[in-house]
Amino acid sequence: MSGRILIKGGRIIDPSQSLDTHSDLYIADGEVVAIGAAPGDFNADMVIDAAGSWVTPGLVDLCAYLREPGYEHKASIASESLAAVKGGFTTLCCPPATSPVNDTAAVTNLIYDQALTAGKAKILPIGALTKGLAGEQLSEMHALREAGCVGVSNLRYPFRDNQVMKRCLEYACSQDITVFVCPEDHALAKDGCVHEGATSGLLGLSGIPSIAETMAVAQWLILAEETEARIHLGQLSCAKSVELIADAKRRGLKVTCDVALANLIYTDAVIKDFNPAFHVRPPLRREEDRKALLNGVNDGVIDAICSHHQPHESAAKLAPFAETRSGMSVIETVLPQILALTTSGELRLDAAMRALTSGPAQVLELSMGSLQVGSAADVALIDPTEKWLVTESDLVSKGKNCPWLDTELVGLAYKTIVEGRVVYDRSMMME
């Protein structure tokens, strides 16, 4: 049972209520009960001195691969939900690429059970849009929703044809469930492993052209307009995609979108040495794309920043670049990397925090990612100045495929609270 917590004297940053102020935060019975003055009957069981710290809503991640069930050699719900709270996240959405695929209520229930046992971050499964992610037959979206899936997705798996895509949106719309789309034209992306550009040309790696994404974005937007479905376009990588979505939003379509951390930080130029740590999908693209994505976060066209956390076993990256598995293990390092972008002036702090808290919560249409009175007390306490060295032994994620190993980062969550319960305390981890 959660007790009464007073978080004293921190800088409270909560974009959901346009709040950036030094004040006290009061938590009772798992909820935020006041900011500023104490409620009359409040007696704290725990007082946290937050002077010099930031107090923010717990971060909400729209895409973190947890690998369970089926790929426990890579990671588990227990290991990754601990990594998440260490990174300041209190809620994670996990994609349906499990084994078996999360296309039944049974798998969804299993994920919920494991999350409950782990007792760290809140885990919200995304179900499969088609059975087995095969792109042919509709999944039982109603049953998935009833079991607790917050959306459905076919990830990057292809559809048999456009008719299936259209039917998927029509049915999802009728069941009032959001379709999470990873926009990619299968034929254009084909065997590619990097952005199709000067770097791919020079290195002789098969490229994924920008139009593999932008054509798919355009297609999904047209289908969404036709069917009136609610779609969320995940992990954008191209400037043109942002432009297309901004236009769709202006026209009133029910569309939201996110960008993965890596695409805000890197361009394809980092691949020049065939370093498989930078093998991600969607690929790292041009500087113009990176800038457009940052601008998209700053101006609010992009609703959320996701970690796109993809833990792998070490062997998955021990091969020539194209043969390695794509993905980075990053959930513990999102916060300092975003802070670095705010320090450099590329991201505004309020926009960045919105994209990590209230933005993704609004995509999910759930009342989280906020410190408003009455909200669940999901809170991150952040020291924005502490320097720490990212080492394999320090990462609690089972995936050590982090591109920032042996790099010093600045800023971390030192305490994370989920529904009024301290689920992560750095000082205890350090002991």
Binding site: A198, G201, P276, A322
Partner: protein
């Protein structure tokens, strides 16, 4: 943007900036390339001796790791290693442990445990030799014998040696590379080598479907017409075009490709009268080049083959001496 080391990878040079591995032309200096050519020059006469051996790699073991079929390249590397007095292992990867589920890393560890000193690597994946060079101990050198579409640096250097033999210098030369640039690791290495050595102009001639994206950023002039691209060139390098690429969406037919981009005597007449004709082989006669040109007086295709052994001897001996220098320096520090 958080910084990543913008320097080109020093992976293939030792601390004295001498060759340690040979993976790509990129990141090397003009002096490195000239040293390779000069050293290769000294090895050419070894092939004409009655006993075709020098003792530079005596007691060393070279393993040819060919993950992709190649007869000509593997044979010339084997000959080069044997002429340097090395013991040579030819490992047939299709029947090796990697096809029984052993990972590439495990296979390399095992070869290292057998005290192999040098890996010559041919692989279908771009960057495979980089991966291997990063994985191996300091007691192993890695020579790239062609990786994916990325690089074929020894082929490029034997082409440079052939050009230098016939044209004596690179300054002022106009060189046309014709055909399937998109899939050609040879072309990428040739372009880098020619630019580094000071060629006046490197041209690529191909339809857009056979050009890599952003090729204009590689230091070349791009032509889609042979008529324009061939004018006044000193060197014509024809590339091999795999026939399966004739089908599908890259090219309409062999006939149309030959009509537009095949090297006939008519088209060769657009080049300088003393232009030389090169081809990395094996040749598709009547597709890339007509027989009269391939066997004609301007063809230096067989010189390229001969030079291949000398260049590979040069690279292997230089990389081995780079490895030894590095190890010696480490021992002195210790």
């Amino acid at each position: 943007m958080p910084s990543i080391d913008d320097e080109l990878s020093p992976l293939q040079l030792n601390r004295f900036q001498h060759l340690r591995h040979f993976l790509t032309i990129e990141g090397l200096s003009r002096k490195h390339l000239t040293d390779i050519l000069d050293t290769a020059d000294t090895f050419i006469e070894v092939g004409s001796r009655s006993i075709k051996k020098v003792p530079l790699l005596r007691g060393k073991t070279v393993a040819n790791l060919f993950f992709e079929a190649s007869t000509r390249t593997r044979t010339t590397f084997e000959l080069a290693a044997k002429r340097l007095s090395a013991d040579v292992l030819n490992i047939n990867i299709t029947t090796s442990a990697t096809s029984k589920g052993e990972s590439l890393s495990d296979m390399l560890r095992n070869l290292e445990a057998m005290a192999v000193d040098m890996f010559v690597v041919r692989h279908a994946q771009s960057g495979a030799p980089h991966f291997i060079a990063k994985s191996v101990t300091p007691r192993v050198s890695v020579i790239n014998a062609g990786d994916g579409r990325h690089a074929h640096p020894t082929q490029a250097m034997l082409d440079m040696l052939t050009i230098r033999q016939h044209k004596h210098k690179f300054e002022g030369l106009k060189v046309a590379i014709v055909g399937d640039i998109l899939h050609s690791r040879v072309a990428r290495s040739q372009i880098q080598a020619l630019n580094l050595l000071g060629a006046e102009e490197v041209r690529v001639i191909a339809p857009d479907t056979l050009l890599p994206p952003y090729i204009d950023q590689f230091g070349v002039k791009v032509f889609s017409s042979m008529k324009e691209g061939m004018r006044d060139v000193d060197v014509v390098i024809m590339l091999r075009l795999q026939k399966e690429r004739m089908e599908g969406a890259l090219l309409p037919s062999e006939q149309e490709f030959f009509r537009l981009y095949g090297l006939s005597q008519d088209k060769l007449a657009l080049a300088k009268p003393d232009a030389i004709v090169m081809h990395p082989g094996p040749i598709n006669r009547g597709v890339e080049i007509e027989s009269a040109v391939a066997d004609g007086p301007q063809s230096v295709i067989l010189n390229q083959v001969t030079n291949g052994i000398a260049v590979r001897m040069a690279v292997m001996s230089m990389a081995m001496s780079g490895q030894i220098a590095e190890l010696t320096a480490d021992e002195e520090v210790a």
